[in-house]
């Protein structure tokens, strides 16, 4: 299994770059992951999205529908793509420490 270095920690990630243990996630991990998704600087808006995704995942065990994400955070669909160029599934979910979404994505 590939590894991902954050500071002096070494985390297990899958071959698509998603971390394998959601519990090791923290802000430092998110910042490091965001760089792999073309986000150089995590803004307040990035955090708002990421925190919602993470909280939803911890509660329900799946990634939320984009509808729920937009409703809860107040972002427009296009704004999500501006924040995370690779989209909510591959970009935002990865930074939030979720496993890779299932299916054709």
């Amino acid at each position: 299994m590939p590894e991902f270095k954050v500071g002096d920690r070494v985390l297990d990630i899958d071959e698509d770059g998603f971390i394998q243990k959601p519990e090791v996630w923290d802000e430092e991990v998110a910042k490091a992951l965001s760089k792999t998704e073309g986000v150089e600087q995590m803004s307040e808006n990035h955090w708002k999205l990421v925190n919602y995704l993470r909280q939803y995942y911890l509660e329900y065990g799946v990634a939320p529908m984009i509808r729920k994400l937009c409703k809860a955070t107040g972002f427009k669909l296009n704004e999500i793509y501006e924040l995370f160029p690779s989209g909510p599934a591959k970009g935002a979910c990865k930074v939030a420490g979720l496993p890779k979404p299932t299916g054709c994505v």
């Binding site: 071959e15 979404p101 299932t102």
Partner: protein, 591 residues
């Protein structure tokens, strides 16, 4: 190894290998390979790893052939060492076979097209996947998705309320943009002509394509709906090789369209979904589908050609190239129409080379996007694709497949190309010129039907207000049919041959056509097919009236919507009226 030491999976797989009924192209593929190496030149895995012989399609296929040699062929049982048969299966073998069947082949069929012996490695590979799946050996990603598709009814486990909420959201966004709510997405609207089915990815992660499609349907004045269930046109049965899942997923969509009385199932841009739903699922499910199925690319193209929507191609001026999805191009022969549409909505189209049936896989085919464990190998194989894209100089790679969107997105990111991926629906919506909003198409029809019904009640004649075209080359027959229908209150037009029939139908747009089959010149079968394929008159009800009952199969085998009625000559007057009336009533109920 003794029987009792073998795992259940191994014993089960051995039994399947011995007994499974094999289709003809599989049998041919088991014996046809001459190891000429043509497939090596065709495969994006092999081309990206030229030093690894395990990436050559014939090697992969040989691993499957060896199994059949062992368990199917008597020579493999008697002297396995001589004929290259597999050693008895172990659990490790199953894992190795899984790695080959799922992890080194996207079933893209490029090698199939280039094999001089007609060996269909992709079909062989899918068979192997199916055998492994049936004993529970498959990548975790495929297992999870298949489970959701079986149990929740769509591959991403989207719940009904969430789905409806998403459609409502897109309707609200459209209302905001247009300043009115007439473009709202209809849900479960009984009697809609078009039922639109999508990929769950659109609802779950990126519903912008749903919004674009809704805008286009609205602009065309289409009578359309989406279904609250049975809306997932994708099919993991194709990827896992499980025909039962394939049939079940297909049937869900078919049943819903039939329940809604839809005349046409429009499938959103998804390569494997289109292939599965339109070409494979009727066979997997063992059903005859009573409505037309088409890709939304065809729908959009038709709207432009018929003048139902207007587009301004200068709105898309960046250079675009087109990536053929393997399932659309190689498995469905669907590659000219997307190009035709692309040229209508963009100004700078540059072909990618090679293209059409020779195009290389996006790397995400065969469900590869859902199998993370093979991602490094997949991305390595993407070098071929990256080179192809880079050579076009395009800023936008257009594709008609959701899998390709993600596969290409990964390739673009990995090889740091400066471009993005879009679908045709995005570009058509972008180019759309909205005039004064057209009234919805069904409104006047309902009025006509109601008026006809009321008129019929007034004078007691059942076909009052109806317009019928009678087509027959024999004058006596024509006169008889016309007289009977006219007596029942219908307005009659006549045509003595196929060409005239098409002309009159286009001019008069009758409610129904009675069509003779044996006519000189363009015969009835040809005429019927042309009627169905001419968009302006494709929806007209047709009742075949023929002296040749044996032609029925010919007519119903045509790749178009079947006729609404079929009567054998000689026809009795009261039967004719009753039949025609039933057909028209049926339409009234649907409307």
């Amino acid at each position: 190894m003794s029987e009792s030491q073998k795992s259940y999976k191994v014993r089960k797989l051995e039994e399947l290998l011995r007994n499974k009924k094999l289709p003809r192209q599989v049998v041919g593929s088991l014996v046809g390979c001459i190891h000429c190496g043509m497939c090596h030149e065709s495969c994006h895995y092999a081309l990206s790893s030229p030093d690894d012989p395990r990436m050559t399609p014939s090697y992969k296929a040989d691993q499957i052939r060896k199994l059949f040699k062992r368990y199917r062929d008597w020579t493999g049982r008697v002297f396995p060492w001589w004929v290259g048969a597999h050693t008895p299966l172990t659990d490790e073998d199953l894992e190795r076979l899984k790695d080959i069947a799922f992890g080194t082949c996207t079933n893209c069929r490029r090698c199939t097209f280039n094999c001089p012996m007609g060996v269909d490695t992709a079909t062989l590979n899918r068979l192997m996947r199916g055998l492994l799946t049936s004993v529970g050996v498959m990548p975790e990603g495929v297992r999870v998705v298949s489970k959701d598709q079986w149990e929740i009814g769509n591959q991403m486990g989207v719940l009904k309320e969430d789905f409806l909420d998403t459609l409502e959201w897109m309707s609200e966004e459209l209302a905001e943009e247009l300043g009115h709510d007439r473009a709202a997405i209809p849900v479960d609207k009984q009697g809609s002509k078009v039922v639109y089915a999508i990929n769950p990815r659109e609802a779950k992660y990126d519903p912008r394509t749903i919004k674009s499609a809704a805008l286009i349907f609205y602009a065309a004045g289409e009578s359309w709906t989406m279904a609250s269930e049975g809306w997932d046109q994708t099919n993991f049965g194709l990827f896992s090789g499980d025909d039962q899942l394939g049939g079940a997923a297909g049937r869900r969509v078919f049943d819903k369209v039939a329940e809604l009385g839809g005349e046409r199932l429009v499938i959103s841009e998804c390569g494997h979904g289109y292939r599965s739903t339109r070409c494979e699922a009727p066979n997997w499910a063992g059903v005859t589908v009573p409505f037309v199925m088409e890709s939304s690319v065809m729908t959009m193209l038709r709207y432009i050609k018929e003048g139902r929507i207007k587009v301004d191609k200068t709105k898309n001026s960046a250079r675009v190239t087109y990536h053929d999805s393997c399932n659309l191009a190689r498995s469905c022969g669907f590659y000219e129409e997307p190009r035709e549409l692309l040229r209508l909505v963009t100004t700078d189209f540059q072909e990618m080379h090679p293209n059409r049936t020779e195009n290389y896989c996006c790397t995400g085919g065969g469900g590869a996007m859902s199998m993370s464990e093979y991602a490094p190998r997949r991305l390595k194989s993407g070098r071929v694709k990256a080179d192809q894209i880079a050579a076009t100089g395009a800023k936008i790679v257009v594709t008609s497949c959701h899998n390709c969107v993600d596969g290409l997105g990964d390739v673009i990111k990995h090889y740091k190309l400066d471009c993005q991926v879009k679908q045709l629906v995005d570009l058509v919506a972008e180019a759309l010129v909205l005039d004064e909003p057209k009234p919805a198409e069904e409104a006047p029809q309902v009025a006509v039907t109601a008026a006809a019904g009321a008129a019929a009640q007034r004078d007691g004649r059942s076909l009052t207000g109806r317009r019928i075209l009678v087509v027959d080359d024999e004058e006596d027959a024509r006169t008889f049919l016309s007289m009977v229908l006219e007596d029942a209150g219908a307005s009659i037009f006549q045509a003595a041959d196929g060409a005239e029939a098409i002309r009159v139908a286009l001019k008069e747009r009758p409610d129904l056509i009675t069509l003779d089959l044996s006519m000189p010149g363009k015969d009835g079968i040809e005429t019927f097919t042309e009627l169905r394929r001419t968009p302006q008159i494709a929806q007209i009800q047709v009742c075949i009236i023929t002296g040749h009952p044996e032609f029925r199969k010919l007519i119903y085998d045509r790749p178009v919507a079947p006729p609404e009625g079929y009567m054998n000559k000689p026809v009795k007057a009261e039967d004719l009226v009753a039949n025609v009336r039933r057909i028209l009533e049926l339409e009234k109920r649907r409307a």
